[in-house]
Symmetry: C2
Subunit: 255 residues, 2 copies
Amino acid sequence: MEYAGRGDPARTMALLWDGLPTPRRGPRQRLELARIVDAAIAEADRGGPGALSMRGLAQALGVGTASLYTYVPGKAELLELMVERVAGTLPAPDGAAGWRAGLRGVATADLAAFRAHPWLLQVATSRTVFGPNVLARYEATLALLDGHGLAAMDVVNCVAVVESYTRGAASAVVDAEQAPAATGSSDDEWWERQVPFLEERMNGRFPLFSALEEAGAFAVSDAVLPYTVQRALDRFAFGLDLVLDAIAARVAPAG
Amino acid sequence: MEYAGRGDPARTMALLWDGLPTPRRGPRQRLELARIVDAAIAEADRGGPGALSMRGLAQALGVGTASLYTYVPGKAELLELMVERVAGTLPAPDGAAGWRAGLRGVATADLAAFRAHPWLLQVATSRTVFGPNVLARYEATLALLDGHGLAAMDVVNCVAVVESYTRGAASAVVDAEQAPAATGSSDDEWWERQVPFLEERMNGRFPLFSALEEAGAFAVSDAVLPYTVQRALDRFAFGLDLVLDAIAARVAPAG
DNA sequence: CGAAAACATCGTACGGCGTTCGGAATATGG
DNA sequence: CCATATTCCGAACGCCGTACGATGTTTTCG
């Protein structure tokens, strides 16, 4: 897990809101902050776990490793800038079709973001990145539930539930998508190698599991994607409806 | 993120179900598998992120680093053994007081496990650890929802939703608990250093957020724990009720 | 009984990581 | 024109997981 909020808040805030200060002396800067952040995002997206390294990033930018530290205090702050930048690329929460469609849109966009940028799941959430895009997105998400008769705290909590659920379910999706690259074997290969041992060990010991499997409880909606990925996506959709139903019951208790 | 299911399934399965094979020749083994796994769990629990290292573990056990590799193929398999062992320590799902209390118990136990063993959140879920304790726990959790009129797939999916939500919400709790150690500054210190810059940047720009804050939407139920931790715990409880409500609506659609 | 096979132990090395240090190069302000 | 501020960056520090191979130990079998 990577943690934000580590360094000097003044410097971090300045980077988030104003970008780099333009120096008055010394050699020209060979890079721009936006280019560094974009390259870092690309680097982190490309590879599996821990794919972003300061060395790799510097090489991708054609610069010595240590030079990066004249732009950014360290990797933690770079991650904050990456989060802020991604937040700026997401579709804005839209309440035009009602709060339910709006919240669904936010969760769907978040899932897409997690899939496109798996490293987002490794950034701790407790020390919020107080960048303009992040804050604006949060404000707009809260607005979806405002004015529907919910208490102030319930508005905040319902948004938090959707976020938590999305994070948990997205984590399963991303796990499934990254497993082949991380382990060096596809789902099918892995499963085929497990089957003989599973049959030997599980045989008859877990009757309910077997019965549910027999009844098709582990089937997936489509066979285009790898099984574990599609299963995780199906479950995400199922659970999102469940959560939104529960919020609907709170919004209009009388049904 | 750490991935299981990497090595030879035969060897991994044998370790999970049977433990170490007893060698017939050669010097006595100075360690037992259980001792290694326990020490690994303790080591991983103690420190912050990435606290478990093969060097550190070997030192704690009074053994050379390379010796560990005669017991366990690598760190990935060791992690599987750790997961399996923790699964064995959790209270068994209990349906005596109804499915709702049972599911709540599972989620609560999972949260407690994530808090006690934060590294569990870093173990990918897509390649299940097929150990006896893990499987038994899953079987018993499914049993909580069996026989209440849900379709087979809905049983599995509802359990998955609870798991996903718990994982996401627990992640927020654990983030909050680990942030001080990981960043070297307490919540209060961090917050105090943020405030002046936040006031400067946010001033008037996010009216709904400000209004909700004014209305106490970010208050917490108790001031014993650090603020971000308590807030995450409050939100966990709120959302768990929400999710269970939604499942209840599926179980008894007519209300 | 002695030799060979099987096995555990572990120092060392490899290539990676984030970050720091200090010297060299370069542009500006006075 | 020179002092100052700044960038650039090679090298080094102390970590990481793990492969290799030498060495020592125990059992088995001829």
